[in-house]
């Protein structure tokens, strides 16, 4: 299956690109229907406890998770700013934490497959780095790509 591309080249942004073997209407349906979100958004590490989502411009959403095996609970909250046939713009923050990112997701359909691109814009590089890895010291973000290159040469 198609692999995920993560780019941290821009210091205050995270870019994710992933291709899905399904048409755009189904990908968007799976990403904006609470009952379907519950089935996948926790991945293998967390259970999705609840999904509240008011799918319209200005609508709020809240995803609550619990780390698998009775672990701690946490939630992501935000507002949907824009929702179109091939694009969703939403704010996102971890509940109880300061600062939020603005996430723009675009969906491009090609030969029955969908290329999804997520651009997350943070108010600062520090906040971006925190999202990539909590506890990471400041200034480490820009080293990912360099590091990846370096590691390949070892």
């Amino acid at each position: 299956m198609s692999s995920l591309v993560v780019s941290t080249e821009i210091p205050t942004e995270i870019h994710l690109t992933r291709t899905f073997d399904a048409p755009r209407n189904l990908v968007m349906k799976a990403m904006t229907t609470p009952a379907l979100i519950k089935k996948w958004l926790g991945g293998v590490r967390a259970d999705v406890i609840s999904v509240d989502m008011d799918v319209r411009p200005g609508g709020r959403y809240r995803y609550e998770f619990a780390v698998k095996g009775g672990g701690p609970r946490f939630a992501f909250v935000g507002t949907i700013r824009e929702i179109g046939p091939d694009r969703v713009v939403q704010t996102e923050s971890m509940e109880g934490m300061p600062g939020e990112s603005i996430n723009t997701t675009t969906y491009e359909e090609k030969d029955g497959r969908t290329i999804m691109k997520v651009v997350m814009v943070f108010p600062s590089k520090e906040m971006r780095d925190q999202v990539v890895a909590t506890g990471m010291s400041d200034g480490a973000g820009e080293s990912y790509d360099e590091l990846a290159k370096l590691l390949k040469s070892l």
């Binding site: 995920l4 993560v6 996948w40 506890g135 360099e146 590691l151 040469s153």
Partner: protein, 126 residues
């Protein structure tokens, strides 16, 4: 790998000169003089960077008293890479779960299409 060590390693990697030094050392051991050549920097300044890298466990210095060649130690870098990879791995896993949901939706959509066709055909038969 504990958090304190990770912090030290990340702080060491946060500087472009130090990353360039590591990239040079990836090609093989080098002396302080050799390492300083590409930079417009005094030898004490280079030595300071090397000290930071050494404290983070990213390089080792040879015993040869005169040259004390520097050598890359790859293990902390691999650990840091593993940690960054965690973010990617999380989304890899999550999107793999989405792939399964999409497979189900595709099957449902195909079944619905088939039903509609059958109904239409039935409709035409007197």
């Amino acid at each position: 790998m504990n958090e304190i060590l990770l912090d030290t390693v990340f702080a060491a990697l946060a500087d472009p000169t130090r990353r360039a030094i590591l990239a040079r050392l990836a090609a093989g051991p080098a002396s302080v003089t050799e390492l300083g050549q590409p930079f417009d920097m005094s030898q004490p300044a280079i030595s300071k960077h090397l000290k930071v890298l050494e404290n983070a466990g990213l390089i080792a210095r040879g015993r040869d008293a005169q040259r004390r060649p520097c050598q890359l130690v790859a293990s902390p870098l691999r650990a840091v890479d593993g940690w960054i990879a965690d973010f990617r791995a999380h989304w890899e896993e999550t999107y793999a779960a989405l792939d399964d949901v999409l497979e189900d939706l595709k099957k449902e959509a195909a079944a619905k299409k088939k039903r509609t066709k059958t109904q239409r055909r039935k409709g035409r038969t007197p």
